[in-house]
Symmetry: C2
Subunit: 200 residues, 2 copies
């Protein structure tokens, strides 16, 4: 039953990625051993190498998975009847993710590693370009629908939206008292003012 | 002549810090050897250890120096007759610094190292608290002078200003086309809208 084999293999790879995400977020990429990942994934040490050649390959796969998930969300939002509303909902969701220690911990670890690792940096930048492209498309549609009033180009607006998202994650890292989900209303307001949009 | 000795010693320590800042910004903390720092500072290998016990101590001293410089700037701005104008000038200056590869490279390297180094993180967070305290003081004075119209508390406003500054630096890291100094006018506008202030 080849399909079952393929499904089982994919499920194991997913279990490894989920376990690695938690290890990298909590103790960092450098301090994580592949044996730690295997233990958390409930498989014997060394089993990981049937799925990924190195710990580094696991990290790259996590960056790629994050990019694929973001692209899927952006593609769904791109269909929304109310594009500015969809943008605000996306920002709410990002505030929620920034408040999740597992998600923000992994995102910050990936940023830190990307700072000195060219392969990670290249995939991280590709995700960033795709994310900004999706934001710009939403802004363009919202503008075409008469929902915005801004002199910024869609690309320039997307850059500022990305800066605001980055700023949220940086605040999570710098300030233990920063409660990202509680900031969603202020972020909505900042974005509405930036784009001359109306918050429903 | 003890004073001359003390001055000469301080000048050497400063030369080491300047050289280390460039090395850490360009090749990273981990990849920099103390011999690299000495070579760039024009002193013989090992001379550094008369001034700093370890490479790590050099990094901590750089974080402290950055904090002291920020505090000095904030203290000067705190005297300004036009506090909201002073805040906007500060943001212009930060955009300029974000566009300086040496400054932004070091800032991003320190953030990355702080992510997994408790001592660096503790000083980095102390600097951040002092920076936000200075921002909050400026906001409070601007509000008292009738220059603002915002429902945010001074501390909450300072947190958002810090998020915007962090976001600028994150964009520099993520996007090689992001020109921070060219964004100063947009940053002024975002901040004016956030605080209900008027840009002169």
């Amino acid at each position: 039953m080849r399909t079952v084999d393929v499904d089982a293999r994919a499920a194991k790879a997913t279990a490894i990625l989920d376990a690695a995400a938690r290890c990298f977020a909590e103790r960092g990429f450098a301090a994580t051993r592949t044996a730690d990942i295997c233990a958390l994934a409930g498989m014997s040490s060394g089993n990981l190498f049937h799925y990924f050649p190195t710990k580094h390959a696991v990290l790259l796969a996590l960056v790629e998975r994050d990019g694929a998930e973001t692209n899927a969300s952006m593609a769904e939002l791109a269909q929304a009847d109310d594009p500015f509303g969809a943008l605000l909902v996306l920002l709410d969701e990002i505030c929620r993710l920034a408040g999740d220690p597992l998600y923000s911990g992994l995102a910050l670890e990936i940023s830190a590693v990307a700072h000195r690792d060219e392969e990670v940096a290249a995939r991280f930048k590709a995700n960033d370009i795709a994310f900004r492209g999706g934001l710009a498309a939403l802004v363009r549609r919202a503008d075409a629908a008469g929902q915005l009033s801004t002199t910024l180009s869609a690309e320039h607006a997307a850059t500022w939206l990305a800066a605001l998202v980055d700023g949220m994650f940086a605040r999570v890292a710098a300030d233990p008292e920063f409660d990202a989900p509680a900031q969603a209303a202020v972020l909505r307001r900042v974005v509405a003012q930036l784009l001359g949009g109306v918050v429903a």
